[in-house]
């Protein structure tokens, strides 16, 4: 290194001077500093334990057991969270509902990421006509409030998917529908991000070099460009989980989401507002759980953004 005008600032100097760090190391160091993100991670683990560990204490059958004589019981020793309008135990239902909510969050976000990456990558990499068609389509998707679109689609698919059996559990077909439609309506933002990343990265020297040596397009897309645009994708995927969980809650709240008997934190709130004067426990416990999980995932996503993608801005 010479007397350099090339070193932009002290901070970089410090990073050069200390022993070399891998990207993962560096990310972890930045992430660790973000106390709220650590907090979010811990709460998220606790909520997962609650939903999956709780299954050791209650059977699903119990969570779906109705006894109208016990309807709308206030919280007590026997029913710590009270009972709902048909006498089901709310605590047990939040345990099983949590499983479904988390499942919906993760699978719908995965679907969103998959579609978003494919559309964004194809549009960004190939450009031209393909790009303009895909982007018009993306724009059309963004032209509709997502919730309204979800409601229409939920109505369209409702009753068309039969109940299915997963690991000995019967899942309402509406779970599949919800996952599918949330995934299908959430990708446009991610697709735009991925496209923008691809547009800038594909002009970089290493991509030009790969192209010059005749590397096939799919290999350039997946091995050269995608790994370099992973930071914003990871961040959106994380936030996407929180988005999917709360979208499910909104749709189910309106009675167009997951159908009984399968519980989710969202559909437990359905009609709860009708009993607001008499039975606060109907909405308080599932509502708090939804707030907690979206909050902790958002904290996590925020920390990841700072750690992976420090220059980006939050909206």
């Amino acid at each position: 290194m010479t007397t350099s005008e090339s070193l932009p600032n002290q901070l970089l100097v410090a990073e050069v001077e200390s022993p070399p760090l891998t990207l993962a190391n560096l990310t972890w160091r930045r992430f660790r500093r973000h106390k709220m993100a650590i907090f979010g991670g811990v709460v998220l683990i606790l909520l997962t334990l609650y939903s999956f560990g709780g299954a050791l204490f209650f059977t699903e059958k119990y969570s779906n057991f109705t006894d109208t004589k016990l309807r709308l019981q206030a919280p007590s020793a026997a029913h710590p969270f009270g009972t709902d309008t048909v006498g089901r135990d709310i605590l047990a239902r939040t345990v099983y509902g949590g499983q479904i909510s988390i499942l919906i969050g993760i699978t719908a976000a995965s679907m969103e990421v998959l579609i978003g990456i494919v559309i964004g990558a194809v549009a960004g990499y190939f450009g031209g006509k393909i790009d303009s068609i895909l982007m018009r389509f993306t724009e059309a998707m963004l032209n509709m409030p997502q919730l309204l679109l979800l409601i229409v689609m939920s109505k369209f698919f409702s009753g068309q998917v039969p109940n299915i059996n997963v690991f000995g559990r019967v899942l309402s077909g509406s779970v599949i529908v919800i996952i599918f439609i949330i995934g299908l309506t959430s990708w446009p933002y991610l697709a735009r991000i991925v496209r923008a990343e691809f547009l800038s990265i594909k002009e970089r020297e290493f991509v030009l070099a790969a192209r010059a040596t005749g590397t096939p397009a799919w290999e350039i897309i997946f091995k050269h460009i995608l790994p370099n645009s992973i930071a914003p994708i990871v961040v959106s995927a994380t936030l996407g989980v929180a988005g999917a969980i709360s979208l499910e809650a909104y749709v189910s709240f309106l009675g167009m989401g997951v159908r009984a008997p399968t519980a989710t934190w969202g559909n437990m709130l359905e009609n709860a507002y009708r009993y607001i004067e008499t039975a606060y426990w109907l909405w308080l416990f599932p509502g708090l759980l939804i707030v907690l999980i979206t909050l902790s995932i958002n904290f996590l996503g925020d920390g990841l953004r700072d750690a992976l993608d420090p220059r980006s801005r939050t909206v």
């Binding site: 010479t2 007397t3 005008e5 410090a14």
Partner: protein, 332 residues
């Protein structure tokens, strides 16, 4: 420079730090210097040596936090600028002490017209009417060599070239005829031919206004033709201070010597290759114990590692912060 002029700016033991997530950056570590009326002082050093931070601390333009002016005083005429209130400071900035910056592309507000940005200084510091401000703005643009000044007032910065924007910046700085202009590498971001024009312009305007000037640069070549006195900074310390001619003929600090050797010169033969300074720039995240330049110094002695030398007079007006006599290679 004449001896009769008196000192109007005295900086004593200025220390500025930045508290960043990576740790505390020791940017300025006890800088003292003075300036006389009408004098031109050049401050030289590589990027990140604290020369800009020193000047920004004088005008209190450091963002606090993360920055902190830990100690020191900046005596301007009768006031310690570091003790003034923010609104008293606003009367100093732009009216008494003005500053121009490195990058004219980003230093002008993109959404306001050039005229607006020029006249707002006048509006703030003088009792002129809007009409008088406008006329004065035209005169100023004319003065810094912008053709068709009357019409260009209504244009936005993006409609000007880099050199023209720096002229606008200069016109803005000189609008209230300050007694000190601080120029923070004003030519670094410009083309070489434009650089020369701007330097000539500033020299001429300085004559017209009769102000003092501090010219920050990393380019010792620029200094020779315009400065009266030179300060060399390294790692937040002043390592050498001298009249300009003496510095070139008789450098006393190993860092200055290294800088001069890295400078291409017309009077030097080709075979004598340009030398670069070995080693990396200092880590500013720790307060240095010994001489900050010791790890890269070719004269390094054992004491240099242990103790940081003070800036002391070595010869007349020539000061240096070094244990070593560079002429003999032994300790002073």
């Amino acid at each position: 420079m004449s001896e009769s002029k008196h000192t109007f700016l005295q900086v004593n033991d200025l220390k500025t730090r930045f508290h960043t997530p990576e740790g505390t950056v020791y940017a300025v570590n006890g800088v003292s210097f003075s300036l006389k009326e009408g004098e031109t002082l050049a401050v030289v050093g590589e990027s990140g040596c604290g020369k800009s931070v020193t000047m920004m601390s004088i005008l209190r333009l450091i963002a606090i936090p993360p920055g902190e002016i830990v100690s020191g005083e900046v005596i301007y005429r009768d006031d310690d600028l570091l003790k003034l209130s923010e609104s008293e400071m606003e009367h100093i900035r732009g009216r008494e002490i003005a500053m121009i910056f490195q990058d004219p592309m980003t230093s002008l507000n993109p959404v306001l017209t050039v005229g607006r940005q020029l006249t707002e200084t006048l509006r703030t510091h003088t009792p002129m009417t809007p009409e008088q401000c406008r006329e004065r703005a035209v005169t100023l643009l004319d003065w810094v060599g912008i053709p068709d000044a009357a019409n260009r007032l209504y244009e936005y910065p993006h409609q000007f070239s880099g050199g023209m924007r720096q002229r606008v910046m200069i016109a803005m700085a000189l609008a209230c005829t300050p007694s000190l202009l601080i120029a923070d590498e004003p030519t670094t971001a410009l083309d070489v031919t434009i650089q020369a024009q701007i330097i000539e312009l500033v020299k001429r305007l300085k004559q017209d206004v009769g102000m003092a000037m501090i010219w920050i640069t990393h380019d010792l070549g620029v200094v020779a033709g315009m400065a009266d006195r030179v300060i060399v900074m390294y790692a937040g310390f002043i390592v050498e201070e001298s009249e300009v001619d003496d510095l070139y003929e008789n450098p006393r600090h190993p860092y200055t010597i290294a800088l001069l050797q890295a400078l291409p010169r017309a009077d030097r033969r080709r075979e004598k290759n340009l030398k670069s300074i070995q080693g990396a720039p200092p880590n500013m995240l720790t307060e240095p114990v010994g001489c900050p330049f010791a790890p890269r110094c070719e004269f390094v002695k054992e004491i240099c590692i242990r103790e940081n030398p003070l800036l002391e007079i070595v010869d007349g007006k020539h000061k240096s912060a070094c244990w070593v006599d560079v002429k003999t290679g032994g300790l002073r």
